[in-house]
């Protein structure tokens, strides 16, 4: 039976976050110089929902202080939609009828060329769970190719062993993104019906293995909507805090992917509203002022525009969640999830500039590999 490890267990603060915290607690947390899990719980609580504007103001001030007037941009590149997994909420699950595609390594370079000519310098390579069509050797090969094109190469792929992560680092990979989806072990088991992803602990410990192996950045997240978001966010915070203490030379970032009910017919039990999502992001910015917070194109333009620079310091742009599709040579239709912000780079950057923010494509240097 899966259990949430003690060091990330959110339960000591859960009652406060769910409604135990009062408005005064939230106000005190808002003004705190040294916010910790107690303050986070108060800021995530329904009571803090009445303090959105002051939270946003402070979130913006902290974001500006630590990241300046810049927003870092990256692009996802889906390498393969093959997956033996049975995740209830995912369009790539193995019981979905959709045809599967995989970029041959040479085809992946066409996509990389296309992304490079769009100006990207940071790419996130994605696959589903480990399977013969998209195994370790394949991922490593694609990383090595991407490292010839981009200054910063990250992966969002299946959990690996430490030695495998070391191999990725040697091939030029800087970091990994790996969402726990939900930290609630009981619900985790329910959503992950079959496949390697069923192993909660193997997934949970993967970022640690990666950092130990020498990757420099780990992106964490929970798929908001699967479980009580306050449970997941408190656990996520503790997960990030624990990794930061142990791997103090590494960078942690946090994403806020939100599942919506139109995806593959899946209806989340805990839908998160726009207001709640904004509140949660502000709360994280207040409690983790120097950690990059990420928002993807899952969200619609108005929400993304409103959050850029106000808590959020890093965003994907021009994303296709289909396999292929950037170069125009390999265009397949079915994506992993729906993109809500379909704006192209120029339009998105124009929005950022109008908001007095600088879009940053290159914020890393391959010489550091």
């Amino acid at each position: 039976m899966n259990e949430v490890p003690e060091q990330i267990d959110p339960r000591p603060w859960l009652a406060a976050a769910r409604g135990g915290a009062r408005r005064e607690d939230a106000m005190r947390a808002l003004a705190s110089d040294e916010p910790g899990p107690r303050e986070l719980a108060a800021l995530l609580s329904p009571a803090a929902g009445a303090l959105l504007e002051p939270m946003a103001r402070r979130a913006q001030a902290l974001t500006r202080r630590h990241f300046g007037r810049t927003v870092q941009l990256y692009v996802p590149l889906y390498l393969s939609s093959h997956c033996p997994g049975g995740c209830l909420y995912c369009g790539f699950a193995s019981d979905r009828a959709a045809p599967r595609h995989r970029l041959e390594p040479e085809q992946s370079e066409d996509e990389m060329d296309a992304l490079k000519s769009m100006g990207f310098e940071e790419v996130l390579l994605l696959t589903g769970e480990r399977c013969p069509g998209a195994d370790y050797a394949y991922v490593r090969d694609c990383v090595a190719r991407a490292a010839r094109h981009f200054h910063n190469v990250n992966v969002e792929v299946f959990p690996m062993e430490t030695g495998e992560y070391r191999g990725l680092a040697e091939a030029g990979c800087s970091g990994l993104t790996l969402y726990q989806e939900t930290y609630d072990p009981g619900r985790y088991e329910r959503f992950h019906r079959w496949g390697p992803k069923r192993d909660y602990r193997a997934r949970l410990d993967a970022p640690e293995r990666a950092l130990r192996a020498g990757l420099r950045f780990a992106g964490l997240g929970a798929l908001l909507g699967l479980s009580d978001p306050r449970y997941d966010l408190l656990a996520l915070y503790r997960h990030a805090a624990a990794l930061r203490k142990q791997y103090w030379r590494s960078g942690i970032s946090i994403s806020f992917p939100r599942i919506r009910d139109q995806e593959g017919g899946f209806r989340p039990d805990f839908p998160v509203s726009d207001r709640e999502l904004a509140q949660f992001i502000y709360a994280f910015r207040l409690c983790l002022p120097d950690v990059p917070l990420v928002l993807s194109t899952r969200e619609r333009p108005a929400l993304r525009d409103g959050m850029a620079g106000v808590g959020i310091s890093k965003m994907s742009v021009a994303s296709r969640t289909t396999v292929g599709g950037y170069s125009g040579r390999t265009q397949y239709s079915e994506g992993q999830f729906e993109v809500s912000d379909g704006r192209g780079i120029d339009e998105f950057c124009a929005m950022l500039r109008a908001a007095n923010l600088e879009p940053v494509f290159k914020n890393w240097e391959a010489v550091y590999r």
């Binding site: 300046g68 590494s250 494509f361 290159k362 914020n363 890393w364 240097e365």
Partner: protein, 263 residues
């Protein structure tokens, strides 16, 4: 007499150095640089982008007249990475000045003293004019001076914290013993803090967030320029001794009589 200070053979009269990583766009960055009258600007190698001009910080700065650029090694985690970055920065910019930054923790960006000293020793041998970013540690400052660094750059507070000159007592110790320029780097928020650093004998200050995150960056840059000039002028004028007027009586020494009054 001209009031100049030097990094290796390079002479400067402005004592304000600007960082460049946090501006909304190239235009407001250049406007702030001009308003600051700075002659020395640092730019992170990781923000050089030769392939996408609107993303590149280096080219617009290089086009400004009368400005020396020092690439910095921000992002380097250890001495090896910093040395590689310094060499690449010199190759791309032609500048032999390097701001040595080694901060293994990408969140608080505190400098690693051990790796910084190791990298400084190597880079000095390779002919760089090395300006290391360090914690305000007087012993480390001397070690870096002995290693041949062109300056030391102790932090006033954590980068981007805006807490001001929280390390003032240590900075004073560094200034008192240093034979190379001492430049307060990081943590400053208000022009008055920059003035205080110059009054305390620092040779220059470096600011980035304080200007870039201000409502009006160019106006704030000009305010810092004024403050730095005032602080430097005050230092040269010689500040009066503290508490000199508060000693009306000398109960312990009055028996000595007026003719034996101490200076």
């Amino acid at each position: 007499m001209k009031d100049e200070w030097k990094i290796g053979p390079h002479k400067f009269s402005s004592r304000l150095i600007l960082g460049t990583g946090k501006f909304a766009d190239g235009d407001s960055m250049c406007a702030a640089v001009r308003a600051s009258a700075a002659e020395l600007i640092t730019v992170a190698l990781r923000r050089f982008n030769r392939e996408k001009t609107e993303d590149d910080l280096y080219a617009p700065l290089a086009s400004l007249e009368g400005i020396a650029l020092m690439p910095n090694t921000s992002g380097a985690r250890d001495a090896d990475e910093a040395c590689r970055a310094a060499r690449l920065g010199r190759e791309l910019s032609g500048s032999d000045i390097v701001k040595l930054e080694i901060h293994p923790n990408p969140h608080h960006l505190m400098p690693d003293p051990v790796e910084t000293l190791a990298a400084a020793e190597r880079l000095v041998k390779e002919g760089f004019h090395v300006m290391p970013y360090i914690a305000a540690d007087p012993v480390l400052a001397k070690r870096l001076e002995e290693a041949g660094c062109a300056s030391v750059m102790p932090l006033g507070a954590a980068i981007g914290s805006g807490q001001g000159l929280t390390t003032m007592a240590m900075v004073r110790l560094i200034v008192r013993e240093s034979r190379i320029p001492v430049i307060v780097d990081a943590g400053l928020r208000a022009p008055s803090e920059a003035a205080a650093a110059l009054e305390a004998g620092c040779d220059a200050v470096l600011v980035n967030s304080a200007v870039a995150a201000a409502e009006d960056p160019a106006a704030m840059a000009a305010a810092f320029a004024d403050a730095v000039r005032a602080g430097r002028a005050a230092r040269r004028a010689g500040l009066m001794a503290q508490g000199a007027s508060a000693e009306a009586t000398s109960p312990l020494t009055s028996f000595l009589g007026a003719e034996h009054r101490d200076e």
